[in-house]
């Protein structure tokens, strides 16, 4: 295939297939940023006013506890000017196994979070550099990965490959979505396959592990980034704590499966404070893209 046809195909795909891109501008006071939270740090029980929380990026000033964020809050803190072009927003789950009560759970989750699925994917700029960004929402059915989440992650990775943009994914998930049975397990294979394509094309892939990341997501794309960052004290593991305690019949230490533990064992590149995340990501993108041009 000639280069021209390939270019034309890529243009055609972005122009007609990835449409519609929905542009979000997340600014202060956006209604999606209003999330009901207890005004108290769950770790040290310090009282925190909403203003205090917001100015500290939802990190407890006393004990450095990082609160869980919604995708919109992440976008606000990550994307330039809060501008985010969402794609594949119309991909949704349905109930392939006829699993009882699954539809109801989906509907309540959609209502509660205002999201369609447990991940939001799109394109944005981080300090001026274009990236594909995916943010998982633990609020949506525990961030579980069903067919729709798997498909959105896969498409995000492939979009990065097509547009030659680095891909950043913020993970937060309880694992595979059991209601979709074996199909949810196969999403691990699908997303990993896309990650292998990305590697083949030498497109940078960065992961930010946030609290909590476990199960099937840990055992697939969350561990396949070129660089794996983590927020402080985020729970990162494969098997659940209670399952392990049931197997070994004893209590586990406090710091078990926290990101500090994972860094000590060699599975996390760096633990980054929330206020430094944007800067760190921008640095990573800069050091991974166009390196050949700079050094030629």
């Amino acid at each position: 295939m000639s280069r021209l046809t390939r270019k034309f195909k890529a243009w055609f795909r972005t122009a007609f297939i990835h449409r519609p891109l929905i542009t979000h501008r997340i600014k202060d006071g956006d209604e999606r940023l209003f999330v009901e939270r207890k005004q108290e740090c769950p770790a040290c029980h310090k009282h925190l006013s909403p203003d205090e929380l917001e100015s500290s990026l939802f990190v407890c000033p006393g004990c450095d506890h990082h609160f869980r964020l919604t995708p919109w809050e992440r976008i606000k803190y990550t994307a330039d000017g809060g501008v985010f072009h969402e794609f594949c927003a119309d991909i949704e789950s349905f109930n392939p196994l006829d699993f009882p009560e699954y539809e109801q759970k989906l509907t309540t989750s959609k209502k509660k979070t205002g999201l369609n699925e447990a991940i939001v994917t799109g394109i944005c700029r981080v300090e001026g550099q274009e990236v594909v960004l995916g943010i998982m929402a633990f609020q949506f059915m525990g961030g579980s990965m069903g067919s729709a989440v798997g498909e959105k992650v896969t498409r995000a990775l492939l979009l990065g490959m097509e547009k030659k943009m680095p891909v950043i994914i913020f993970t937060a998930s309880g694992g595979a979505r059991m209601q979709e049975g074996i199909l949810s397990l196969m999403q691990m294979a699908k997303t990993s396959a896309a990650a292998s394509v990305l590697e083949e094309h030498k497109i940078p892939f960065f992961i930010v592990l946030t609290d909590p990341t476990s199960g099937g997501v840990t055992a697939s794309y969350a561990m396949l980034g070129d660089v794996i960052l983590a927020e402080p004290s985020a729970l990162v593991g494969f098997a659940g704590r209670r399952v392990i305690e049931g197997t070994i019949k004893q209590k586990l230490p406090e710091n078990f499966q926290l990101s500090e533990f994972q860094q000590e064992k060699g599975f996390v590149d760096a633990i980054v404070q929330r206020k430094d995340l944007r800067k760190t990501l921008a640095f990573l993108v800069k050091t991974h893209m166009n390196v050949k041009k700079v050094w030629r």
Binding site: F99, L158, M178, I182, L183, A189, A239
Partner: protein, 323 residues
């Protein structure tokens, strides 16, 4: 469905099949099974779960003994240890070399302790990957036997990165340039099974099961009642027939009445027949095609709704086919 209805439907189907010369033996078999196993499919599914976990069910080494000649087991992941729950090695299949990987359960209590009930550690998955890469280097096809209730959920596994080990296997298996054939012989438990379960062709034994979580786990987490495992098993769609319908597996190998352990030789012979047939087909494909097909096979998996998806004409679809 009551018994009467089943019989009525059966006669209907049979006459239809004769009239139009249709092949609906599957459906007929299913209905007959319903008659034998009692009305509820719940019992039938649970019977399969029990058979898949049966103590006498042939294990990976049993099948290797019967199917292959001259098996040499290779040990160790070259970085930490050798995991007895995951075995691997080189063998001859009709005088042609192949690499075998697979989980191994113990065949008696003592061996089962040593084998950790077939629950592999990260070391096991890394050993499997090492052997697969070795097979690729020397052009040997890979045959993977899946039989595990899952990866080992323990402290040692977490410390050595079980998540990373499985994830890396998933990714690397997609770039292996030799054929990989997967056979699910017993329990296919979640990520632990998938960690060596990526292949160009996936075979499943009739009474094997393959699921994202054990029925007990599903019952206690989603139904909040561990005693409902039987019901959970029936709604999880974990039998070979369900998986074939979802196109997760490619073929089912039937077992002797009462399960594979009633006659391991017959089951093994059927596996061998299928293996030889499939490998001959796969080995003739160019390597690029093999990798591409494997990717496309898994790319298609999953069902979801896409509201604004544009309907593309046949020509455009073909033109825009990517990856």
């Amino acid at each position: 469905m009551t018994e009467k209805e089943i019989i009525k439907r059966l006669t209907e189907l049979r006459s239809l099949a004769q009239k139009h010369k249709l092949d609906i033996s599957e459906e007929i078999k299913q209905l007959e099974a319903k008659l034998v196993n009692g009305n509820s499919s719940q019992d039938a599914t649970w019977k399969k779960v029990e058979l898949a976990r049966h103590n006498d069910r042939p294990t990976t080494l049993d099948y290797i003994d019967i199917i292959f000649d001259d098996f040499l087991e290779l040990h160790g992941d070259r970085s930490f240890s050798d995991d007895p729950a995951m075995i691997g090695g080189i063998a001859l299949l009709n005088d042609k070399p192949v690499t075998i990987i697979g989980q191994q359960k113990g065949r008696n209590l003592k061996e089962n302790v040593m084998r950790n009930s077939g629950m592999a550690l990260p070391d096991g998955y890394r050993k499997a990957l090492r052997l697969v890469r070795q097979a690729e280097k020397y052009g040997r096809p890979v045959i993977s036997f899946v039989d595990t209730q899952g990866a080992y959920p323990g402290v040692s596994a977490e410390e050595r990165g079980i998540g990373e080990a499985i994830a890396r296997n998933l990714k690397e298996f997609f770039s292996v340039r030799v054929p990989i054939v997967v056979i699910i012989i017993g329990q296919g438990g979640s990520g632990g099974a998938l960690g060596i379960g990526i292949g160009d062709y996936v075979i499943m034994l009739e009474n094997a099961i393959y699921s994202v979580i054990s029925p007990e786990g599903c019952a206690s987490i989603l139904l909040r009642d561990a005693s409902k495992a039987k019901y959970a098993a029936s709604i999880m769609k974990l039998t070979a027939r369900d998986l074939l319908r979802f196109e997760i597996i490619d073929t089912i190998i039937s077992e002797p009445t009462g399960g594979a352990h009633q006659n391991p030789e017959v089951t093994a012979a059927k596996i061998k027949l299928e293996l030889v047939k499939v490998l001959n087909k796969l080995i003739s494909r160019p390597q690029e095609q093999l990798v591409k097909n494997r990717y496309e096979k898994y790319r298609r998996m999953g069902v979801f709704i896409e509201k604004n998806a544009k309907k593309k004409s046949g020509f455009l679809k073909r033109f825009l086919r990517k990856e």
